[in-house]
Amino acid sequence: MLELLQLEFMQRALIAGIFLAPLLALLGSFVTLRKMSFFADGIAHASLLGVAVSILVGVAPFGGALVIGVFFGVLIFLLERYTSIASDAVIGIIFTTGLALGIILISLQPGYQPDLISFLFGNILAITWSNVWIISVLSVGILSTITLMFKKFTLTSLSEELAWTSGIPTTYVNLLFYVLLSVAVVLGVKLLGIVLVSALLITPPVTAKLITSSFRSYVVCSVAFSLIAFIGGLIVSYYFDLPSGASIVVSASGVFMLVLIYTKMFNDA
């Protein structure tokens, strides 16, 4: 176990994950309440356009993915709010457009693209110290904002009407939530990949929902399950030489299954 901690790429992955796993679980607590799972998937896939543009112009793909992720997050917010198009249709269009443009741009670049593969499926080996810094600083910033706005985010997620009549500026609060979520999803993409990132956003909160009866315990359990899934998955991926992102997601699903079976047995007993 100690040998694992002596490897530099594992140190980087652990630090990044210890910031990201609670962040995604905390945001996921609101995402499940708002039924926004598809939004996270959409932003993750559309951020491929940012990766492609960055590869073409020769800059770090992580920055490009962040900018495009936030851009699409704000665009989805505006289209949802100011048009009569259904939310899932808006996300469906943005999701596929970003992905398609990303594929077209990448096809213009000859040869194998390692950055592309690491963004699609996640790769802890691809996490650099500068990535760790970006992830840590942004995660702390987002976590602090959520802590400050916790009641406002919760009430707005539960009922926008009630939040409005309580004096909460719901449009700005929602816009802020979309931006924070877009940033967090793109940060998570670096670790888990475009295809799998939404799992860490959704599975731990849904698992926590099975065994909690108060909002406080729900949030605490979501974060705990997310950390267990991340650390467990990372250890398994190291010892069995498996892809790290997929191992973390399967680990989260394993925790979910165990809790589900426990609650079924407990309820039936």
């Binding site: 309440l33 009430l155 539960l158 009922s159 009549t165 309580s166 929902k209 909690t212 729900y218």
Partner: protein, 235 residues
């Protein structure tokens, strides 16, 4: 000054298809005012305009002399239905603590005043319709509102529960010295608690004291049927 002044207010979701047209009325500070009208008459839209959730297409609204948006913290609002994920783990106390910074013991007092103190640790998704309405009323009373807006608050509650609910509204109006504005599509609610009734069906049809306002021809005009009102007194 009146609690609410509405002047020539119109609203349309789709251009050229008004939901309400040129409605004007005043609501006094004292007592309970009920807006009645058939389904689709624009009552809920009008209520949402009064609380500032919707902007009127034309016309002016003043709540205690100010625009609705400036008065948000002075109003309590109980929606017709609270749409949320019923499996969501949040207790009544946690839900009420989201609204403002009212101390826990004051929240418990308000819950007691609406007969819901025993629900404090219950999950809101597990409450019955009546219990949820009481919780929403408790929530609307936090922050000591000047006006309490209720949108069809008894929909989904049985007849016995309805009667208890009207008694609760009466007692709240007295105990908390609050103006109550309620929307209903049922005429029978008027005789139970209204001090003033306003009838709308896209346009304003009548306004005044229930006994002198709700005449058979007005009700026929409102609902399109011959309806007579009889007051029942049950022991």
């Amino acid at each position: 000054m009146y609690a609410i002044e509405i002047n020539n207010v119109s609203f349309e979701y789709i251009q050229g298809a008004p939901v309400i047209e040129n409605i004007s009325f005043i609501i006094p500070k004292k007592g309970t005012t009920i807006l009645i009208g058939p389904n689709g008459s624009g009552k809920t839209t009008l209520l949402k305009i009064m609380i500032g959730l919707l902007e009127p297409t034309s016309g002016i609204i003043h709540i205690h002399g100010k625009k609705p948006k400036e008065m948000r913290k002075s109003i309590g609002y109980v929606p017709q239905k609270l749409y949320f994920d019923k499996t969501f783990p949040i207790t009544v106390m946690e839900f009420l603590q989201l609204a403002d910074t009212t101390p826990k013991d004051e929240i418990l007092d308000i819950l007691e005043s609406v007969g819901a103190k025993d629900l404090v640790d219950s999950r809101i998704g597990e409450l019955s319709e009546g219990q949820l309405q009481r919780t929403l009323i408790a929530r609307s009373l936090l922050g000591k509102p000047k006006i309490l807006f209720l949108d069809e608050p008894v929909s989904g509650i049985d007849i016995g529960g309805e009667q208890n609910f009207y008694e609760l509204i009466k007692s709240i109006q007295g105990d908390h010295d609050v103006t109550v504005v309620m929307v209903s599509h049922e005429v029978n609610v008027v005789s139970q608690i209204a001090d003033k009734v306003i009838c709308i069906n896209k346009e304003m049809l009548c306004s005044g004291e229930p006994s002198t306002t709700l005449l058979p021809e007005v009700i026929r005009q409102l609902y399109g049927k011959n309806v007579s009102l009889y007051e029942h007194r049950c022991k």
